[in-house]
């Protein structure tokens, strides 16, 4: 029979906490860079310039239909070999990413595709009259995007941004596959080293759930404060 022994968890508590914090860090970076990618893509798709919007659509369709794990493997295992074969060693070395960097880039690229849809919907939801008002104030295209569309869009997409952050945080678990020492990696290491399988995985699960609910609570609170009427 399997007897539960939670001491193992207590003894290795720091590795769980460190893993959780690393996961949060990866998700924060992923959301930040992903938002930039998503914004550029969203404006490209709504620009009305055909080659631009087609390129952006292609990016979104490809990335949204490819597993995140494959992206991680491409960056972590594929890129170094590819770089060393195509570029001189000096340049190649600069292209090689370590585990954390691969995870951040993969999450950003992935989040960018999803966020571009969110932002696009947000941009399209900005009322015609605001754009007209901006134009009548003499703003050019860039000015309207920066001072009219962006702030209004930001408030509409805020809830989707928090949802994306939470799913990104859960997706950081995949970084364990490329040996990034985040929460899933910590649990896996503990379970293979000590065979305390049930304890390790239920602890990891419980930590993820708690973190997700706390993050959701905090983000909802800020949403209510920031989302004044448009």
């Amino acid at each position: 029979m399997y007897d539960l022994n939670w001491n193992v968890i207590l003894n290795n508590w720091p590795s769980f906490v460190d893993g959780l914090l690393l996961g949060l860090k990866l998700a924060v970076f992923g959301l930040a860079f992903g938002s930039i990618i998503g914004l550029v893509l969203a404006f490209a798709r709504t620009s009305g310039i055909r080659p631009l919007s087609m390129a952006a659509t292609f990016y979104v369709e490809v990335i949204r239909n490819v597993p995140l794990l494959l992206l991680l493997f491409v960056l972590y295992f594929g890129l170094p070999i590819f770089a060393l074969r195509t570029f001189p060693p000096g340049t190649a070395r600069r292209l090689i990413l370590d585990g954390d960097q691969s995870a951040i880039v993969a999450l950003s690229v992935y989040a960018g595709a999803y966020l571009s849809e969110v932002f696009r919907a947000g941009i399209l939801a900005v009322g015609r009259r605001y754009l007209d008002a901006g134009r009548s104030l003499g703003l050019n295209r860039w000015g309207i995007a920066r001072y009219v569309t962006l702030p209004i869009m930001f408030r509409t997409v805020l809830p989707s941004l928090s949802n994306t952050f939470i799913s990104l945080f859960k997706d950081t678990s995949l970084a364990a596959a490329i040996a990034v020492p985040e929460l899933t990696f910590a649990a896996r290491e503990l379970s293979t080293n000590t065979f305390r399988v049930i304890e390790a995985w239920t602890t990891a699960g419980a930590l993820y759930i708690t973190a997700c609910f706390l993050i959701a609570g905090v983000l909802r609170f800020f949403e209510r404060r920031i989302r004044w009427s448009v």
């Binding site: 490819v66 493997f73 678990s173 995985w201 239920t202 699960g205 759930i209």
Partner: protein, 216 residues
Amino acid sequence: MQTVIDNFGLLMRGLAITLQLSALIIVFGTAIGLLGGIGLLYGPAPLRFVLRAYVDIIRGTPLLVVIFLIFYGLPALNVEISGFGAAVVAFSLFAGAHVSEIIRGAVASVPKGQSDAAKALGLTFWPRTTWVVLPQALPVMLPPWVNTAVEMVKGSSLVVLVSVNDLMFATVKVAERTGDPMPLYIAAAAIYVVVNLTISRFGAWLERRSSFGVPV
């Protein structure tokens, strides 16, 4: 490119496993989700509480953690299970929770007058749900359901971490053997995109068909 052509058979065998796994997950997940969604709406309070806990716990946990818990956890409890079996169980639980929430939302969006009218015609609970409410919830639940199906095909790549020989596994192994990963990764990505776009297309077609004659 040559590596991809030489090993195309292996990739296709991997794809067969991926498709098999995805199909099983989608069927089981939808079955769990249908019961779960209806239970969440109409079940007695204790059942609703249990289902709510199940849905929220699974939705707050990464898929990978669920897979590892089942794959490593069940054998520790003396239940023998293969990697494929563990994957089916874990993914079905995961998809079931997500589909429950989708169906709950879709069914709740059907105007109450519809089920009142069915009641007035003398239909009992199950006929009312099956023949009146669910068909009208269908167009609402199809888009997110198709999304979940795509997510599951993509998610099925995680089984490589518990050594199930799916498309991802074939890709990784051939890449390791040939030492030339990039073309293989690109080929795998292309295959995933084709499969998922096909599912999305099929979903869009279903949507058009199912929304026929439904009052909006």
